[in-house]
């Protein structure tokens, strides 16, 4: 497979790389090491820059006003956008805009008017609520939030956990069981407004990462009109599944981007740091760590690009996306760990971004489906059928 960048791709990569180095990294010098946002005036200024670059709203389909950038190029840019302290969970502090909830592109016209277009205009924010206290890796069976029909409405009751952004959101996509079927076939996807009576964000769920924290939601007799069903009744799991597959490529790319940056830091450091009368770069133990990092980065990047190219061709990319997610998150963790080791005591401090990446990268092996589930997805696709 040939990963030679086209002239246009190289130009875009160079442009975003320069943007990260000259616009994003200097701002972080004055932010708290765990900060998750920049000042509103900086955010607006930088968004104006990305609009002028023609890259605002990456991931938004061109027919909805986004730039016409394919998945492969978006992946190349995602490698670059992650290369700063907050880059894993806040790549470029979202100044390139977001695609929002991709599931809304398939929504009804009414739903698009009320939810999709305001998101694209930056007027509304959203959340995605799938995981429950009863489990997240097998949501089709774990979902216990119930939806019961009452006339033209549905009454929802239940709880969701590890939901990012629900406390700030105007609305969200929420999955509930709407039939007696205990499998994925009895799940429906609802659009819920956060100001609807019965919607509660009960607490912040504190984790290894301080920014983009998760929340716990409780739903108490939340009345939702049937017009707010996204997709078809009892077929909501397909929507969840689509989101999970689709998001694995950029998720992996973020991990790989951070690994690339950490490796660059290591290479720079070993050429100046002396121990026992010689540079770290001359020590075989260090050289092997650098080489192992490179192997991790190149193999995970290769699979990530393969997944992106298959997605662009319209081929089934589920196996490659799961492999990219698994490799990217695990390789990223190993790379950051080695780079911390190379930096010694400084690697543990908040003076460097490594300790933040180390904490956040650990989450990536769980978030968006743990490594074990990625293996399950691949096994199903490779062996065929569903042997479980």
């Amino acid at each position: 497979m040939d990963y030679q960048l086209s002239e246009e791709q190289q130009m875009l990569v160079d442009m975003v790389r320069r943007f990260v180095r000259t616009e994003i990294c200097p701002l972080e010098d004055n932010l708290d090491p765990d900060a998750g946002e920049i000042a509103p005036e900086d955010s607006e200024r930088l968004k104006e820059m990305t609009r002028n670059m023609g890259l605002y709203g990456l991931g938004i389909p061109p027919e909805f006003g986004g730039p016409d950038v394919d998945v492969t190029t978006q992946t190349l840019l995602a490698f670059e956008m992650a290369q700063h302290r907050a880059g894993l969970y806040n790549p470029c502090y979202n100044v390139f805009g977001g695609a929002g909830l991709a599931q809304l592109y398939e929504a009804t016209d009414m739903q698009k008017e009320k939810y999709l277009y305001p998101v694209l205009r930056g007027e509304k924010t959203s959340f995605f609520a799938l995981t429950e206290p009863s489990g997240g890796s097998d949501p089709g069976r774990a979902i216990q939030t119930r939806g019961v029909q009452d006339g033209d409405d549905w009454i929802l009751n239940g709880a969701k956990i590890f939901i990012s952004g629900a406390d700030h959101a105007d609305f969200g996509i929420l999955f509930a069981r709407t039939s007696e079927d205990k499998t994925r076939n009895g799940v429906t996807c609802f659009l819920v407004d956060t100001d609807m009576p019965g919607f509660h964000v009960r607490r912040v769920v504190h984790t290894l990462r301080s920014t983009k924290y998760a929340t716990e939601i409780q739903i108490e007799n939340l009345r939702v009109p049937k017009e707010n069903i996204l997709g078809e009744l009892n077929k909501g799991f397909a929507i969840a599944n689509d989101r999970l597959s689709r998001y694995r490529i950029p998720y992996a790319a973020g991990c790989i981007g951070v690994a690339i940056k950490a490796q660059a830091m290591a290479i720079e450091y070993v050429k100046i740091r002396e121990t026992f009368g010689g540079l770290l770069a001359s020590r075989q133990a260090i050289q092997w760590m650098i080489v192992d990092n490179e192997i991790d980065i190149r193999t995970s990047r290769h699979i990530c690009m393969e997944a992106a190219q298959k997605a662009d061709r319209g081929d089934d990319y589920r196996t490659e996306a799961a492999m990219a997610k698994l490799l990217g998150s695990e390789a990223g963790g190993r790379v950051v760990d080695r780079v911390m080791q190379i930096h010694g005591g400084y690697g543990m401090t908040k003076d460097l971004p490594l300790e933040r990446w180390y904490r956040e990268m650990r989450i990536r092996r769980i978030g968006e489906g743990p490594s074990e589930v990625q293996r399950l997805v691949m096994a199903r696709n490779i062996i065929g059928g569903s042997f479980h």
Partner: protein
């Protein structure tokens, strides 16, 4: 488990600050009657962590100011949580917080 900071306030005095070490965490300041007028945190750039922040607050605030604090490595998410709780309990954020850190905070409805 309560998510509010419920330990009793102490007077913001050198004796009470002395035992507090330079760890990361969050803190609240209240006036003599116990009304909270500031919520802050000691983050990764705070010199001497909570100890340093509270010492600075002592120099900048009047006698009678009280404080309570919590060591917390996840100081940003805990800080945001305390702001949301304050808004839920009292309807608005402390004025000094609004002036120093104007940003959109989330909405919690934690119950009592």
């Amino acid at each position: 488990m309560s998510i509010r900071l419920e330990k009793p306030f102490q007077a913001l005095t050198p004796e009470n600050i002395e035992p507090i070490q330079g760890q990361l965490g969050v803190y609240q300041l209240a006036d003599a009657s116990g009304d909270i007028f500031y919520i802050g945190y000691a983050g990764g750039r705070s010199l001497f962590g909570l100890h340093g922040e509270l010492k600075r607050e002592m120099q900048e605030n009047s006698d009678g100011t009280q404080f309570r604090c919590e060591v917390n490595m996840q100081y940003i998410s805990r800080y945001e949580e305390l702001l949301m709780l304050h808004k839920y309990d009292f309807g608005e954020l402390p004025e000094r917080v609004l002036n120093e850190y104007p940003h959109k905070i989330g909405v919690l409805s934690p119950g009592n």
